[in-house]
């Protein structure tokens, strides 16, 4: 075999190999077409069951929302497992035409129609869809939406609130009639007068920080009620009271509270408007400015009452280092450990709200305090009874009813 013949054979072999490879590749590409040629799915999925529709009540109810619920098709998550979605329809009457409403994904058991006309009777239909076929349509109706005047899911809150308010009012009346209401000793509140006295003896000011909450925060309002009592004591002792604030409205309210307190004890001239200071809305700029006051003006007593966040420890530790006697009070549970660590006394949660009544000893306010205490007794009794009943029998009907109420 000569060289030319060998080259021809090699070329022929290479060409055949390329053709063979191309044929294999074509055959591979052609495989899906072979699969597509399989017969189409003509079996519809099983329909849903238990379709129901009800007027949906939310916090802004205009009667235009109806909520549909159903039990999944047996082919959704089981059976043929081929349901891909649910098609929903709505009609304005039993004999009226169905209008498409929307779709719900497979696995969903809830759909909210948010475009219903209030007061109009609607019928709803639903069918499972497997990508090729719809199941038999299941329908429900009539149902109409209406703008409700009571949020029934909040019935339990209403009942407990009325019971609580009733207790507060009963004890307030009792207090007004002269009943002797015992209130437990709160060392943190007793310490306030002691702290102010110490500052007076040392000839140094008292620093009162009402937190960085806005005026619509109930802790800030509670703080202003305590500020009123503190300002009366400082006014009586003629001790300077510095009130740095992070909110302009709080500053304005604090000015009024301190000015009135000076007037109430007969020392209106002792009021210094420059001591009620707006520092900054920015959290850490405020903390830095208050720390500066602590280090420059050296108050002997620091009182932190109100809503505090991450700045709590920055303030309390600086006050500790400056050697001031410190009393804090907040209902911010996450900040309580910091105050407990760095302050001499801490008012925890409810003690902040009790302060005004405790300090003034006004019968009307003490009545509210006793009402809260009895509500706590009632809450603890209900919880203990629930736990005991549940432990005795987890299927207890009363516990089930009470839990869902």
């Amino acid at each position: 075999m000569n060289a030319a013949m060998t080259m021809k054979l090699l070329r022929c072999f290479s060409f055949s190999a390329v053709v063979l490879l191309a044929a294999c590749a074509w055959a591979q590409d052609a495989e899906p077409d072979t699969a597509a040629a399989l017969p189409l799915d003509t079996i519809p999925p099983a329909p849903v069951t238990g379709l129901s529709a009800r007027d949906y009540v939310d916090n802004s109810d205009a009667g235009d929302k109806i909520e549909l619920t159903w039990v999944l098709s047996p082919d959704d998550g089981g059976g043929a497992e081929d349901v891909v979605s649910y098609q929903l329809w709505r009609s304005g009457g039993a004999e009226a035409e169905w209008d498409s409403l929307g779709t719900a994904a497979a696995g969903e058991t809830r759909y909210r129609d948010e475009a219903a006309e209030p007061g109009v009777d609607y019928y709803y239909g639903i069918a499972a869809f497997d990508g090729a076929n719809y199941s038999e349509r299941v329908s429900f109706g009539p149902v109409a939406g209406r703008a409700n005047f009571f949020q029934s899911s909040r019935m339990s809150v209403l009942v407990l609130m009325l019971v609580f308010f009733g207790m507060v009012l009963v004890f307030t009346k009792l207090a007004e009639r002269g009943a002797d209401l015992f209130v437990r000793r709160i060392p943190g509140l007793n310490a306030i007068e002691e702290a102010v006295g110490r500052a007076t003896e040392m000839g140094r000011p008292v620093l009162y920080v009402p937190g960085i909450g806005e005026i619509d925060n109930i802790m800030t309002i509670a703080s202003l009620t305590i500020l009123s009592h503190v300002a009366k004591i400082t006014a009586r002792y003629e001790t300077p009271l510095i009130v740095p604030t992070a909110r302009a409205v709080v500053m304005s309210a604090a000015e009024e509270v301190v000015k009135e307190a000076h007037a109430a004890v007969g020392k209106p001239d002792g009021y210094n408007p420059d001591n009620i200071r707006y520092l900054s809305d920015a959290q850490f700029a405020f903390a830095g400015a208050v720390n500066g006051i602590m280090l420059r003006e050296k108050p002997a007593a620091n009182l932190y009452m109100g809503a505090f966040w991450a700045e709590s420890l920055l303030l309390a530790e600086t006050g500790f280092e400056a050697g001031a006697i410190q009393v804090a009070g907040t209902a911010m549970v996450s900040q309580l450990p910091f105050f407990v660590t760095a302050c001499d006394f801490t008012l925890m949660g409810e003690e902040l709200y009790a302060a005004s009544a405790y300090l003034s000893r006004e019968p009307k306010l003490l009545g509210g305090l006793k009402g809260s205490d009895w509500m706590k007794v009632l809450s603890i009794t209900i919880m203990t009874a629930g736990v005991v009943l549940y432990l005795l029998n987890p299927d207890n009907a009363f516990v089930a009813w009470f839990s869902s109420w």
């Binding site: 109810d61 703008a147 109930i218 959290q283 549970v333 949660g349 005004s356 706590k376």
Partner: protein, 214 residues
């Protein structure tokens, strides 16, 4: 009348907000929403009061040469600079001088203050965990378990121990039971305190926040 009008407004708005909580009708909820927006606008506008107070307090301090009056000059000067650049050239526009100063001066300063917290936590923790009493000892033990249980080292140290006393599991138990019980107790007490205080304010029994009881 100086007391009666604010008390009447407080009563009416308080009752209306309470009604809004229980009445879902859109007429009530949209009115309540409108009212909340008014509140937001009033609070935002009140910043002028704050600025006025800031200028007055620092101006008095400078005029009377009180201790630290130099800081007051700095405060007023910086406020003036921010006003100057914020007014005509905008505040949040990218590339504006105000925005540049905010991002490169105020934000780092605030971050510095925040990061100081780590040192304050260390000093506070040192004091809190000193073995002074039975309670402090309990706190120390719980803290060691929780701190070690939250880092890989805790898992590494105790992985050969029985599962129940491995540090991550003990941490979970401490956080989920004694810690959560105390947390909820304080929270429930505070919630009742808020309700009682709210009722006292709505009914006008508590009025010292207005500047006096009478």
């Amino acid at each position: 009348m100086r007391r009666e009008i604010p008390l009447a407004i407080t009563f009416l708005i308080g009752i209306f907000m309470l009604v809004d909580f229980f009445v879902p009708h859109h007429v009530v909820s949209s009115s309540a929403e409108e009212m909340k927006q008014w509140g937001t606008i009033v609070i935002a506008a009140s910043i002028l009061l704050g600025v006025g107070n800031l200028i007055r307090v620092h101006f008095h301090k400078i005029r009377r040469r009180r201790e630290g009056w130099g800081y007051s000059i700095t405060t007023l000067a910086i406020m003036g600079v921010m006003f100057f650049f914020g007014g005509p050239w905008g505040t949040i526009e990218e590339g504006s001088a105000f925005n540049w100063m905010f991002l490169n001066m105020q934000v780092p300063l605030q971050s510095t203050m925040f990061s100081l917290l780590a040192f304050f936590i260390a000093s506070a923790a040192y004091r809190a965990f000193r073995l002074r009493s039975a309670e402090a000892s309990l706190l120390l033990i719980a803290a060691i378990i929780v701190m070690l249980g939250r880092v890989p080292l805790g898992q590494l140290l105790t992985r050969s121990w029985p599962e129940a006393i491995q540090l991550p599991n003990m941490t979970e138990v401490i956080m989920a039971y004694p810690n959560m019980a105390a947390f909820r107790g304080i929270l429930m007490g505070a919630a009742l305190g808020v309700m009682a205080m709210g009722l006292r304010i709505i009914l006008g029994i508590e009025r010292s926040y207005l500047g006096g009881e009478k």
